[in-house]
Symmetry: C2
Subunit: 328 residues, 2 copies
DNA sequence: GTGAAAGCGCTAACAC
DNA sequence: GTGTTAGCGCTTTCAC
């Protein structure tokens, strides 16, 4: 790899001038041209490690997520990437497996690499951001808030859970269960809250507890919880799934037992990635993960650009896609 | 962020000694202990940009893939990550959207960042690796070979396509179509080749062309091609899908038309991620993307470690999961 | 085993 | 507008 000195020598200018050309500072057109052609001839690319060391900041954004195999997060990653790339930033995807230790390691790396900022879908409410924030790096929380005073982009989970439930009520179901993620995760609790309030208001006070399952936000969690519910003394006639993967698990388990919507009602908060089921059988409360990604990236870029205002929280809307085939 | 100098001062040693402690060189136990406690007190983490600049190499591996939203590639990413992480390397995921320009940019970045190596699922057979290789960085090709003499890890695509087709033949289907990816992608061609040879051998010479569609490796591609096939003069009675997303698209389109396997036979090369369909209705030629990832990472680490032997090609086995419910 | 010092490639004062 | 120079934080000879 050629250095700035070799380019300078070939172009007959100083290294500083070469640097200026590559950083948009004012240079006479003649010298700029000479530099550019020398750079091309030597296949020069600025060394990013050196630039990062000198500037104390890399043009890289860390996107830290709990599950890279969940399409919700990869969709989000696409959104982040699009905005970041347009602004000249690269995105580094870090997968924590929802483990605090891995998350911690990645946050340390982000700091040690002088990355410009972090977009974090926290592993749990216990996530620690002290180090990164002490290092002066902006953080934007996505999907889940953190215990820190940072920008966040979230869905209206309570309302999404309520909406999912209301759709099932409207379709005539009477015993509506809810399978959501780990209780340690804000979104899981909020979606369950939405379900609970709707059930209690629309059906009966009694019709809630006993029908709630905190599980994992994964397919197997959905299957297990569904099996558990169906094998109970008073099985539900409908299920609200707290995220996309749980939805898949629910439907898989039902299908294994010969049950298909609308025989039993199903509403999913999120989406049904790669479903092969007819879309009008299941109610979807669609969460726009991509938009969450673009919004978060924009907020982060603002902060990187020096915006020091108070922390903002953006709540994104969801879209209701009701099942059109119902039991009724 | 504390520096090595501050740690040195606090511990009463030279910066060089601090560096040695953090790099496993021999240091007296007394000083090592002093350094460690000073480092902890100052919350010292070595600055990676500085280390990278000095060592001319970062402990980072680039994983360059064409579609981050395809579970096949995220599964592969998991495999890469597991091996890399165990060896102390971070993984940077780069999404090219199967565009050569983006791929080129990412490869340049990998070089400019002094990354230790690249694992590449090439955007097309026209991918250029000259710069990276000239920079002395090892490259391992995954899923698809490149035109360069580098290590590669691939599936036996021809055999996978043949196996998928043979399963449909065995189930009694007579007009078996094939929907595969872009003709510019090796895997797409090879899977089609496997299909063609089996159809020609088992059925009739005539029963092949006209039933082959080169599409995109995406869900919409599967839908469009299926629609196209079904609306033709002599529609197929079975379809081989060239990858997971095409399989989803095929099943979606069929389902929209009220067709479900085994009314029409379906075999998929790859897997059916997050399917809600009963697994015994569709034949799956399962490709182990995770294993592909771990294998590639291992090969790359060997190269990074200095292995300069001839380029190797590893061909991974697939697993046949036949549909057990057939039209017969 | 340990310290002094040079230098990785770049940017940003500072002088002109 | 342009060149000179110092220095970002680290690793690594080279002496001792």
């Amino acid at each position: 790899m050629a250095t700035i000195y070799e380019v300078a020598k070939l172009a007959g200018v100083s290294p500083a001038t070469v640097s200026r050309v590559f950083n948009g500072a004012s240079v006479s057109e003649a010298k700029a041209k000479a530099v550019r052609s020398a750079a091309t001839a030597l296949r020069f690319t600025p060394n990013r490690a050196a630039r990062t060391l000198r500037k104390q900041s890399a043009e890289v954004i860390a996107l830290v997520i709990p599950d890279i195999e969940n399409p919700y997060f990869t969709e989000m990653a696409r959104g982040v990437e699009d905005v970041a790339q347009a602004a000249g930033y690269s995105v580094v995807l870090c997968n924590t497996d929802a483990e605090l230790a891995k998350e911690r390691t990645y946050l340390e790396i982000a700091l040690a690499e002088n990355m410009a900022g972090v977009i974090l879908a926290a592993a749990s409410s216990a996530s620690r951001l002290d180090e990164v924030l002490a290092g002066g790096r902006p953080v934007v929380a996505v999907d889940r808030r953190t215990g820190y005073d940072v920008d966040s982009v979230v869905m209206d989970n309570r309302s999404a859970g309520a909406e999912a439930t209301a759709q099932l009520v409207a379709a005539g179901y009477q015993r509506i269960a809810c399978i959501t993620g780990p209780e340690s995760i804000e979104t899981a609790r909020e979606r369950a809250d939405g379900w609970r309030s709707t059930v209690q208001r629309e059906l009966s006070e009694a019709e809630s507890e006993g029908l709630l399952r905190f599980s994992t936000f994964r397919v197997d969690g959905g299957r297990d919880a569904t099996a558990d519910l169906l094998e109970g003394p008073e099985p539900p006639d409908a299920i609200v799934a707290g995220n996309n993967l749980l939805g898949v698990g629910v439907l898989q388990e039902l299908s294994g037992r010969g049950l298909t919507p609308p025989q039993i009602g199903v509403a999913v908060v999120g989406s049904l990635p790669f479903t092969t089921l007819s879309p009008n059988l299941v109610t979807i409360i669609r969460l726009n993960a991509r938009q969450m990604g673009t919004t978060a990236a924009q907020l982060l870029l603002d902060r990187i650009g020096g915006d020091a205002g108070a922390a903002r929280t953006v709540v994104l809307p969801h879209e209701v896609l009701p099942a059109t085939v119902t039991a009724g």
